[in-house]
């Protein structure tokens, strides 16, 4: 195998791929412009909808408000609720989302509370809501909070009425303090998203080119011509492989660059993501992640080439490649799952290892031993995939399947 020949094949494929300007434009516009704009735009909308959920007044119906004038007054003046007049079909109104929540106050409530009834006679309030409907659930939770405050207030009154200090009720003060660095807290959400996108783009960047260079050649009938040249099979694979790898790396690098660029302009979204903490990605982190992604890209390129070569047509190749994309999306999404953490055992799982370890790196931890281990493991997978691809190109029954 001569490297010079492989490079000639690579140059030929590169020229071929770049020749069609319109196509290059369409391929690039997706990761560079559409993807970051959409993700940020979507994030903004999602954030504002959640904010609306938090701040909007929820409609509340009081059933038997006259039994607890004190509590009713408290709810009427509460800024989170809009108390609407009573009507007997409250359950249906809640189901129809016209009413968010209803509170039923038993008769004699105020008197029983005043009289300090206990045991069986303890008055009971009922909150009616729509389970699993976000606005109704939020309203029910807010209502519970008001009730808790009201309860604390009554208990305090009872204690002070007996001439005891209210401090009696608060023996301990608990104070929670975050000790994680601002960078780690801020990076928590972003650090899970970034590896997911990087892995996905590394994959999608390889897919279209790999199918075009194999199944596409078969469909156009140009594969035979290339095979009859003086270039050896291995050199041919290597040249094609290099282009697939390049496309994969360029796509993910471009998307990352434009993503970080867009983040600069979407301040409110970024701050929501980082919970207002300062967060930046260090150069060391970028370098370490690149080290992890490189063998992964080689692995994807090898797998995609062998799979697509097996197909006789573009259409068939799509059928094979689609499931592989599905197969990679789920492990890549592992980093998005809160609570799933990297361990040495997981280092052996191909895509999962990069996804989880990259998240650690983006939050500022550099477990160099594990990084080396994952790099080594992925190099083995990459070599295996490349080996299979070369073998496939040597098999006539794969090249000329009928």
């Amino acid at each position: 195998m001569k490297l010079a020949h492989a490079i000639i094949v690579f140059r030929k494929e590169l020229t071929d791929a770049l020749r069609d300007r319109r196509n290059v434009f369409a391929v690039l516009i997706f990761p560079v412009v559409v993807f970051p704009l959409l993700s940020v735009g979507f994030g903004e909308v999602a954030e504002s909808s959640v904010k609306k959920l938090r701040t909007q007044k929820a409609s509340l119906m009081l059933i038997g408000a006259e039994h607890a004038p004190g509590l009713a007054e408290k709810l009427r003046t509460h800024e989170g609720f809009e108390v609407i007049p009573y009507s007997p079909d409250y359950a249906r109104q809640i189901g129809d989302k016209k009413l968010r929540v209803a509170l039923e106050i038993p008769s004699d409530f105020e008197r029983q509370v005043k009289g300090e009834a206990g045991g069986e006679a303890l008055p009971s309030l009922r909150i009616y809501y729509y389970s699993a409907e976000p606005r109704s659930e939020a309203a029910a939770r807010r209502l519970e909070e008001v009730l808790r405050d009201y309860r604390d207030m009554i208990v305090e009154q009872r204690v002070t009425a007996r001439g005891l200090p209210a401090a009696l009720l608060h023996p301990v003060e608990a104070r929670a303090q975050n000790v994680a660095s601002a960078e780690k807290v801020g990076g928590l959400k972003l650090a899970g998203m970034l590896p997911y996108f990087i892995i996905l783009l590394t994959l999608t960047g390889a897919v279209n080119v790999a199918t075009d260079l194999t199944a596409g050649e078969k469909e156009r009938g140009t594969l035979e011509t290339i095979l009859s040249t003086a270039v050896g099979r291995s050199e041919l694979v290597l040249g094609k492989f290099l282009l697939v790898l390049l496309s994969s790396l360029v796509t993910s690098a471009l998307a990352l660059a434009s993503f970080s660029f867009t983040m600069q302009f979407a301040k409110s979204y970024t701050q929501e993501m980082t919970r207002g903490h300062a967060y930046s990605i260090s150069l060391t982190a970028v370098a370490a992640v690149f080290l992890l992604v490189l063998p992964l890209a080689v692995f994807f390129a090898g797998v995609m080439l062998s799979l697509a070569l097996f197909a006789r047509s573009f259409k068939e190749a799509q059928g094979y490649v689609g499931p592989v994309i599905l197969l990679s999306i789920l492990p890549a999404a592992m980093a998005l799952m809160p609570g799933v953490e990297f361990s040495a055992k997981l280092a052996l799982l191909p895509v999962v290892n990069v996804s989880l370890l990259a998240r650690e790196i983006f939050t500022g931890s550099f477990p160099w031993g594990l990084i080396g281990l994952v790099f080594g493991v992925n190099c083995v997978y990459a070599a295996a995939a490349l080996f299979v691809a070369v073998r496939q190109f040597h098999r006539e029954e794969v090249l000329f399947r009928a």
Partner: protein, 409 residues
């Protein structure tokens, strides 16, 4: 335009698509089987990983344990908490996620609890804000603290010969009043329209490319144009084929999706840290009425027509498969976005939103699945979708009649 000729074209395309068994299998069977299997495997793995750490318990460090022996003993005995010996670098350990939580008791804590004379002592919890396991450990320990606090208060009241009944002035209970199918609709209502819309698009994608750009690439489009079939008949025949593929994929994938949910519901239900709203601990209930599904499908139909026609027109612009692909992949993202709106919690349908093409179907389907049938809006949205679909079909027919598009160089 003769309907019979359209039928001939449609039958020819259908046979063409179904002839290659291997392709049919790779396009339909594999994704349908793979999707449930993968999701099950993935969810099981994630759950297993989480469960294992729960069994091991979250690492918690006690600082100044000797100041509060009673409370420390309680925390030690708590399930899911593993006490590790004191080390001065606890803050660093929390940062490295080796330690989830550290609790600092001030000197004289125990005595103060007994006497209640001075100001309340401060117990400090050091945690990793936002990190799931640290938050779970914090919540567990705070619950222990809460119980301990209540006990101390009760003891203090008893010491003063007061009844502890004064601590509970009233009870409060929560009750869900929405019927089960509405609850099921609210849980899954956003997800189903999202999937149906995406699937009706992806199902149309490959046939649309194959029937236009593919024909160009294979050089067969000239032959077909030379036959006695007219252009408009040709488009409608091809369009019907794409629509068939889109509807079939959607139905099949939905079936496999339903299967996935049934199979993974058990595993997913045991995930910690899920939505912790009131009543959600009862587990997930999946009750969705058949009528609602039928109406939703009816709403998506004009949308599928629009996708099929639009994809045909776009793919016909391309000279090759590769080019068609690079035009259509960005389009997919453009469709996913409005579809995703139905997944957002706060967004509800307004008359203005009823006119935005994909978004309207996505939002009204969510309403329908949770048992609301705003018939006026439903008819309005159906009519507007039909108009969009007709426009897309018109454009597709026009594109096919344009020689400069058919034979682009």
């Amino acid at each position: 335009m003769k309907l019979r000729n359209v039928g001939v074209v449609y039958r020819k395309e259908l046979i063409d698509q179904l002839r290659d068994r291997r392709t049919v299998i790779s396009m339909i069977v594999i994704p349908i089987l793979l999707m449930p299997l993968l999701s099950i495997g993935f969810v099981t793995l994630a759950v297993k990983l989480l469960q294992r750490t729960q069994q091991e318990g979250y690492a918690v460090m006690l600082i100044g344990e000797e100041h509060a022996p009673t409370l420390a003993e309680r925390i030690r005995a708590t399930e899911g908490i593993r006490i590790v010996p004191f080390a001065p670098d606890y803050k660093q350990q929390i940062n490295d996620k080796k330690l989830r939580l550290a609790i600092e008791f001030p000197p004289g804590f125990e005595e103060e609890m007994k006497s209640g004379a001075g100001s309340p002592p401060v117990v400090k919890f050091y945690h990793f804000s936002g990190e799931l396991r640290s938050q779970l450990a914090l919540r567990t320990v705070q619950k222990v603290m809460q119980d301990y606090r209540k006990e101390v208060v009760a003891q203090r009241l008893e010491a003063r010969n007061l009844s502890t009944a004064i601590l509970e002035p009233f009870k409060s209970e929560e009750e869900n009043v929405a019927p089960p199918e509405k609850v099921g609709g609210a849980q899954l209502g956003g997800l189903i329209p999202y999937f149906i819309i995406i699937l009706s698009l992806t199902g149309a994608m490959y046939p649309a490319m194959d029937l236009t750009a593919g024909e160009k690439e294979r050089g067969t489009i000239e032959t077909i144009l030379a036959s006695a079939v007219r252009r408009s008949e040709l488009v409608v025949g091809k369009f019907l084929m794409v629509l068939t593929a889109s509807v079939t994929t959607t139905l099949l994938s939905l079936a496999s999706f339903a299967l996935t949910i049934v199979l993974t519901a058990g595993a997913a239900g045991s995930m910690p840290g899920g939505s912790g709203g009131p009543g959600s601990s009862k587990g997930l209930v999946f009750v969705i009425s058949g009528k609602a599904l039928a109406v939703v499908f009816f709403m998506v139909l004009p949308l599928a027509v629009m996708f099929a026609a639009a994809l045909l027109a776009i793919a016909l612009l391309a000279k090759s498969y590769k080019e068609a692909q690079s035009y259509i992949s960005p389009l997919m993202i453009v469709v996913i976005l409005p579809a995703i709106f139905s997944l957002l919690p706060g967004v509800e349908l307004t008359p203005k939103l009823a006119l935005v093409p994909i978004l309207n179907v996505s939002l009204v389907s969510k309403e329908i699945l949770s048992g609301n049938y705003p018939w006026g809006t439903i008819v309005l949205i159906f009519a507007s979708s039909c108009m969009y679909a007709a426009a897309a079909l018109f454009v597709a027919v026009r594109t096919f009649q344009n020689e400069s598009v058919l034979f682009r160089t």
